[in-house]
């Protein structure tokens, strides 16, 4: 039996259920999706929970239809969302760009199979000058908070936002509390289509080209797309989020995102306890990337070790912002479970510890040998 009394405020929930409930708490009233593992369990949760909350969940016949349904619901003023894993979100890219350019807020849940969607989330594959604000939670409780924050930011800026989850967040269970986040009140969506201004000369229009009506001309594509680009610059400046620890005196800083960062953070704490001068930096927003914070965190580091479960995607952003780009080295790699649906053997504490130690080679080994350290922690 545990020495600790159970926390009465926690519920044991699968991540997908917790995220669905958080989305509904945030006011999400429309969801459309197409099954694809590990996103499937979020779709199932939405189908089960949304109707009782006065919402609608539609079994979209394709990802393309799902994202366009959500775009329509959003254009009509509802908080709307869709999702898939990276493979299905590849199909949605045109519509995601469209929501950025016609300013319909949209939340996209990328319940990804691994970390190979970093470029997809942060660069996107649609046309035009747009970005997608992406939050990468490290675990289910953070994903619950991020979900509400993403609906808020999508509405506040009228932009598409992405939750970059994974199988650990979608399909594992944990004790979690679903609470409404205290977020600022937003103005009413007077731009949303409800038909009420028809025939008045002031009817509304949602259009990527923003040319307006002959009675009330809009800015047109040139000025509209300049304004969109300026808006994303404002988002980039205002919405960077990160978490770092033990970087002040660190010779080595490990950089990781999402679930993987929970593993790397554990190893960094372990090594710190063993006397290594090592710190940890986790971008919480992948876009906007917290570049200035990374520069500060790596100011004294001789090793900036990037652990990501892909062939090297976030490392581009790390190299761009690290205090000394020659210190940046990849210690992750492609690692896929044989099913293709989740992570491979690289996401494991002993493997990560070994790679971090190897990445620190050249540094004076002042700490406890790692095998002794591991034993002392048991």
């Amino acid at each position: 039996m545990s020495d600790h009394p159970p926390d009465a405020g926690l519920e044991l929930l699968e991540g997908s259920t917790a995220i669905a409930r958080s989305a509904i708490t945030a006011g999400c009233r429309f969801f459309a999706g197409y099954p694809m593992s590990p996103f499937t369990s979020l779709l199932e949760s939405m189908a089960r929970l949304l109707p009782d909350s006065g919402g609608v969940c539609i079994n979209a016949e394709s990802e393309i239809e799902g994202v366009n349904m959500a775009l329509g619901a959003s254009a009509a003023g509802a908080r709307a969302a869709t999702g898939s894993c990276g493979q299905g979100i590849a199909l949605m890219q045109e519509a995601i760009a469209e929501t950025a350019l016609n300013e319909t807020p949209l939340v996209i849940f990328n319940m990804a199979r691994n970390q190979q969607d970093y470029f997809q989330c942060t660069r996107g594959g649609g046309w035009g000058d747009y970005r997608t604000l992406t939050l990468a939670p490290k675990d289910i409780p953070e994903a619950v908070k991020h979900t509400q924050l993403l609906f808020h930011l999508a509405d506040a800026y009228r932009i598409p936002t992405i939750l970059y989850g994974d199988p650990l967040i979608a399909q594992t269970r944990i004790g979690v509390r679903i609470e409404r986040l205290d977020l600022p009140q937003l103005p009413a969506k007077d731009w949303a289509l409800d038909g009420s201004r028809g025939g008045t000369g002031h009817s509304r229009q949602v259009w990527t080209w923003a040319m307006g009506k002959t009675t009330e001309p809009g800015p047109g594509p040139d000025r509209h797309w300049q304004a969109i680009a300026e808006k994303f610059e404002r988002v980039a400046a205002a919405e960077q989020r990160y978490e770092s620890f033990r970087v002040a005196d660190a010779d080595t800083v490990v950089v990781a995102f999402g679930s993987a960062a929970k593993f790397t953070a554990h190893v960094v704490e372990e090594l710190r306890a063993g006397g290594y001068r090592i710190g940890h930096f986790r971008p919480v927003t992948l876009w906007p990337f917290p570049g200035e914070a990374l520069a500060r965190a790596t100011a004294g580091a001789r090793n900036v070790l990037v652990f990501e479960l892909n062939a090297g995607q976030m490392i581009d952003d790390v190299r761009q912002h690290a205090a000394d780009r020659s210190a940046v080295r990849a210690i992750g790699g492609v690692s896929i479970h044989e099913s293709g649906l989740s992570y491979g053997p690289l996401l494991d504490v002993p493997v990560i510890r070994e790679r971090i130690l190897a990445g620190m080679s050249g540094e004076p080994r002042t700490g406890t040998p790692v095998h002794d350290l591991a034993r002392s922690l048991l």
Binding site: A32, N68, E98, G195, G198, G199, Q205, K213
Partner: protein, 264 residues
């Protein structure tokens, strides 16, 4: 008494418009070609919204084609959506605003080429929306290329010797396909080649919208529209050409009448 206007010399004063029969919901000049049938279809659609007194709860979803420019001159709430995706966007709108009258405006390239899945799925789901297809059998906006509804033998810029089934395949009769699906409340095909046809097409639009308002499910009105520019014929020849080519492939009429008794 009106003065008799002399016709043996140019008029002395500037010409003056004495009447405007444009419906009030059309708030600007369209920019489409002479002889185009699409502005006629827009007009009867907007007139019907007014006659049904649903203007202030109507939301249009407009796809991409020449008619896309109508979003600037229609005084109703409009979402200009991605090519082909209007029925999906209309689904999202209608599901969160069930009291709205939601219609799409799509060409054949938009609905039958790019968005074939969207319209069929929306119909089979019984989405309570009205899709208006403006079918001229050609990509008008890009200058006259073959679409999925181009009739056999028709010359286009991408079927120079005429649409040959051995190479280009056969046209799709989308209204016929949709009319066979469950979940559908009303399907009809009209044309705007003659005043009589315009009046018939307008009645079809009215039936479709009334079907939606009564919650009878998906409705589709396909309207054959003249595209003399894309057909490479003179503007005055448009209606006759349409009668002799498209209307033979796409027979006008109600393909699925409303099952509920009218006015009951």
């Amino acid at each position: 008494m009106t003065d008799i206007v002399a016709t043996d010399r140019p008029p002395e004063g500037a010409a003056e418009k004495v009447a405007d029969f444009r419906p009030s919901l059309i708030v600007g000049e369209h920019s489409l070609c002479p002889g185009c049938g699409e502005p006629v279809a827009l007009r009867i659609l907007l007139e019907t919204l007014q006659e049904l007194e649903i203007v202030q709860r109507s939301i249009g979803v407009v796809g991409h084609g020449c008619y896309g420019s109508f979003v600037r001159i229609m005084d109703v709430d409009v979402l200009q959506c991605l090519h082909g995706r209007a029925p999906a966007c209309a689904t999202g709108i209608k599901r969160v605003r069930p009291d709205a009258a939601v219609f799409t405006l799509q060409g054949d390239g938009d609905m039958v080429n790019e968005g074939l899945a969207e319209v069929i799925h929306a119909a089979a789901r019984g989405e309570n929306i009205t899709c208006i297809l403006l079918n001229n059998g050609v990509f008008g906006d890009t200058g006259g290329q073959q679409t999925a509804t181009t009739v056999l033998g028709q010359r286009t810029k991408t079927s120079l010797e005429g649409r040959d089934p051995a190479h280009h395949g056969y046209p799709i009769r989308i209204a016929d396909i949709v009319s066979g699906l469950e979940g559908v409340g009303y399907v009809a095909r009209g044309t705007v080649g003659t005043p009589r046809d315009v009046a018939r097409a307008k009645r079809m639009i009215r039936e479709a919208l009334e079907s939606q308002l009564a919650g009878e499910g998906f409705s589709l009105v396909e309207i054959l529209t003249m595209c003399p520019t894309g057909w490479f014929v003179g503007a005055p020849q448009g209606p006759d050409y349409m009668e002799q080519s498209m209307a033979r492939e796409y027979a006008p009429g109600e393909l699925r009448a409303r099952s509920a008794p009218r006015g009951a």
